[in-house]
């Protein structure tokens, strides 16, 4: 059977606060097949970023976070793994790109050194020179022509677009099977964003990397993803193939989102409620968007 690369079942998350537990995720079900580009779209606070952070194990040390649910990655239970097991996956099998590229690179080390460290996680014996060669090769792949200068610079000496391309190269250099991209273009200008996303799409197609693409920008999602999950307040409200979702949105929340996006063809902006009871309607699953083996 063609099992999915990543399968999340009934994921719940809550944070302990002084007022008691604050629920963030109410049972998410997400699956990603190998090489598939899947987008998770929602407003701020809908729980899209925390989902990626749970997959990466970033809340394991946080005592105020309670989560439950099964996370199956490559037939292994991520949620039952030890710290060391998870550590060995990160950077090799699963890697992540964050929103703000300049602050996700270490400002006290040159890019070359950081690249070397990334390569060492996959191959601890790699020599500096060999690492340098691979790094230059990958920087060329992300359309950085003066790779030598970039490797010799600090993150703050490079532009945002340049840093994001360095991040993409670092995230993909160890050929992970899953890439988590959390709003990778949001901090960039539109033209730079379009360039970086095109590059990213080409590379992940080439390397057959699956991507969980997290964004609030519907336009970007439409251009990048094969399949889309729309998330609202910790619940998936609609899922399906990208063109089904965009050409034929069914859930009231998705419809409101689509209507609210300003169009370059004009037509003004309609009056839309920013909250509504109907946004809590049950999930709508388009044909072809369901999990393999799920009852249709």
């Amino acid at each position: 059977m063609n099992n999915p690369l990543l399968k999340i079942t009934n994921l719940e998350l809550g944070f302990n606060t002084f007022q008691g537990e604050h629920k963030i995720l109410h049972g998410l079900n997400i699956h990603i097949k190998a090489g598939e580009r899947v987008a998770l779209v929602g407003e701020s606070g809908s729980g899209k970023s925390v989902t990626a952070r749970i997959i990466l194990g970033m809340f394991d040390e946080l005592t105020s976070a309670n989560f439950s649910g099964d996370i199956l990655f490559n037939e292994q239970r991520l949620d039952l793994m030890t710290k060391a097991q998870k550590h060995s996956l990160r950077g090799k099998e699963i890697s992540m790109i964050f929103q703000d590229p300049t602050s996700s690179l270490n400002p006290t080390f040159k890019i070359g050194q950081q690249f070397y460290e990334v390569l060492r996680t996959a191959n601890p014996k790699i020599k500096k020179q060999a690492a340098n060669k691979i790094a230059i090769d990958w920087l060329h792949k992300v359309a950085i022509t003066d790779a030598d200068r970039v490797l010799n610079s600090y993150a703050f000496q490079l532009s945002g677009g340049m840093n994001q391309r360095v991040m993409i190269a670092m995230a993909l250099v160890n050929k992970p099977s899953l890439l988590l991209a959390d709003e990778p273009g949001t901090a960039l200008d539109v033209t730079v964003q379009a360039q970086t996303l095109n590059l990213m799409r080409e590379l992940v197609t080439q390397e057959n990397t699956a991507v969980l693409f997290i964004s609030h920008n519907l336009g970007v999602v439409r251009e990048f993803a094969d399949r889309v999950y729309i998330i609202y307040k910790g619940r998936i409200v609609e899922q399906g193939k990208t063109h089904d979702i965009f050409d034929n949105p069914q859930h009231p929340y998705t419809q409101a989102l689509m209507a609210a996006v300003p169009r370059i063809t004009g037509g003004g902006i309609p009056e839309i409620d920013d909250t509504s009871e109907r946004y809590y309607d049950p999930i709508f699953i388009h044909k072809g968007g369901e999990e393999i083996g799920d009852p249709v």
Partner: protein
């Protein structure tokens, strides 16, 4: 034209001294009519915010002059001029005093500009809050107890409190979700029509511009590369750079894609 309320002529701004200088604005000229929404678009570093700061009088231009209601605007602004040109920022949380209630923040504007009788000011605050679509009880709340969209409404109410002629909006919806953005844009449109205020709307989001602005200035590296009505900019842009900007916008429906493809074909045809 006689209902031009603001005219910027040959504005230059150079930062730095000696060899290390940056020409942030070069030879920028535009006019703003009463009740108009003029959009200033460009990528980061194109000088959009610099022109806003020059108009607001935060720093003077290196050369060139701005006339407001047929009077030359000097770098030293009188209280009256400050009152008539107001500012709404991108991030409402950092624009509001976190220790002051919403009511107190708005009242400060009324006190500084001495608007209305002291005893009536409570009443004015209530009307302003209702006008921007917030419940009156909110005046007792702190900014931290409001959502992003609600905070932005407070910033707008505070700008309105001064009864300005012009509001400079610097990326007013960039920090907001699309549903909230739609509501804020509608509110801004409504206020402009009702009160006849002019907006200088600074943004990098061209899709927003398409739906709110009358005229558009496209900035690139401190220069205006194209200045035309919104219809012309989106249907028949003259400049290569404008086409390039529009063809980079991610779109969500088919008619938009057709328009965008048409523009990027024209863009490619030039090579």
């Amino acid at each position: 034209m006689n209902n031009t309320i603001l005219f910027a002529k040959n504005i230059n701004k150079v930062f730095g001294k000696g060899k290390d200088t940056v020409q942030a604005l070069s030879d920028v000229t535009f006019g703003l009519q009463q009740g108009e929404c003029l959009a200033i678009v460009g990528e980061s570093g194109s000088g959009k915010s610099t022109i806003a700061n020059v108009i607001l009088g935060i720093f003077p231009p290196t050369s060139g002059e701005i006339t407001f209601l047929n009077e030359k605007l000097l770098p030293e602004r009188s209280l009256m001029l400050k009152k008539q040109i107001q500012f709404v920022q991108q991030n409402p949380l950092s624009a509001l005093n976190p220790k002051k209630t919403i009511g107190a923040s708005i009242k400060l504007a009324l006190d500084v500009h001495n608007i209305g009788d002291k005893s009536d000011r409570g009443q004015i605050i209530d009307t302003l809050l209702l006008e921007v679509g917030l419940p009156i009880e909110f005046k007792h709340r702190l900014p931290a107890a409001l959502s992003g969209g609600q905070r932005q409404r407070v910033s707008i109410a505070r700008a309105l409190a001064c009864e300005p002629k012009i509001i400079v909006l610097d990326e007013p919806t960039s920090a907001l979700d699309v549903l909230v953005q739609a509501r804020i844009l509608n509110l801004l449109n409504k206020l402009r029509k009702e009160r006849g205020i002019s907006y200088i709307f600074i943004t990098h989001d061209l899709a927003v511009v398409r739906n709110i602005a009358n005229n558009v200035c496209v900035f690139n590296q401190g220069k205006i590369v194209e200045y035309a009505t919104t219809d012309v900019i989106f249907n028949n842009p003259k400049q290569q750079y404008t086409r390039q900007l529009i063809s980079a916008i991610p779109v969500i429906d088919k008619s938009e894609q057709i328009l965008r493809n048409k523009l990027s074909e024209a863009h490619n045809a030039q090579f």
